[in-house]
Amino acid sequence: MRFLDTFFDGAVMARYLPDLISAIWVTLYLAVVIVAAGLALGLALACLRTLGSKWLNVPIIIFADLGRAIPPLVVILIFYFGLPGLGITLSGQLVIVLVLGAVLAAFAEEIFWAGLTSLSAGQWEAGRATGLTFGQTLFSIALPQAVRLAIPPLVNRALAITKMTALGSVIGVKEILAVSSSAQSFSGSATPLTMAALAYLAIFIPVVIASRLIERRFSWSI
């Protein structure tokens, strides 16, 4: 009984459910924007890297290495509490999207790039030898194969980073963890945290299942 009262208190649940539902929307919205922006930027950077220009590659590699090396929370705090010192004030949501989007882009660039470099040179040569331009070879031949190789690690990384939207709780973003943890303080019950855990599961289990379907859709036998 004590277990149920602590983690599954019906009255507390009913009271905080509306707040939590709006927090779910915030988390979902942040996750979608971060994944879309991060993957698009990572893909664009990996494509730029195939051009083989030192002037492009050095900044891309520095960006990817920094993005993967720095804990996102540090950058989030710097952006949110540091930038106002320069007269730049960003909303908590914007900081979360910028930082986590950039971190995902850093990982995604490396994952796409690994996929592109794993293709045999013969694939490029076959495309170019039949008169395709560099761009046509990249988009019709190299990228589809690289993306297929990239999907499993990308899904893992995208999941890991979208779960980091919970870091928004430290800069006042009203996402799932922030709302449930303040509800926990007010109510003195752990139930809102249980609700948060269930909400994360409700969001991410379907994503994991969808990712399996995508992997199957993009696979072909070698």
Binding site: G122, R128, T130, G131, Q136, S140, W220
Partner: protein
Amino acid sequence: MVKPPVLEIAGLEKRFGDTVVLKNINLKVREGELVFVIGPSGSGKSTMLRCCNRLEEPTSGAILVEDAKITDIARRDLDKMRMKVGMVFQGFHLYPHMSVLRNVMLAQIKALKRPKDEAETRARDMLERVGLSEKADAMPSDLSGGQQQRVAIARALALDPKVMLFDEPTSALDPELVGSVLKVMKDLRREGMTMLVVSHEMAFAREAADRVIFMDGGLVVEHGSPEQIFGDPQTDRLKAFLSRVSQGAE
């Protein structure tokens, strides 16, 4: 009357850093001719072939395809030229994520700008020509090596090339699959396709080649009819190469 050369290589030189890979190569391939290039590995045969569509950039010298000097073409204008020079690789290099039919259609649509239905008709014709019309919807991984190489030949032919380059087309194949690829090449020759072939298939060279070129150390060492090259080799290098090949060492 002597037919005009479709492919002409004049004074071709290729260096990788300080290493000279090709020295003063001169060669004409006339319309409808099958010219065979033999020589030990590392002799520069493949590099010469790859210079002909500038997958490898020549260091100096000229390459002409139907009087168009392809060595003068700006890099960004290479794509049109490459459609005129069909290339078949040792490793086939079919696109694994596309059906056989799409493999043969892709460059027609993207590079030649052929309408899709026309490209499909052409692709099916070419697949029939290499004896694989029933495999149009298969994926490359469902095919044997010999079948994959025939699809690669169809992919190049679909672009109406003026000359076909074959870079050791049967070297990666199991012995029992070699014949099917050579048969397609013989058919092409009968139909009048101009071909430059790097290969170790000596029996095929004797039977089908108009001329044979022996390369060693980046040079054309001997040049003649198959009877001359195989029956009456003049240089010690060619004699040594032929005896190594007949013992199965190459």
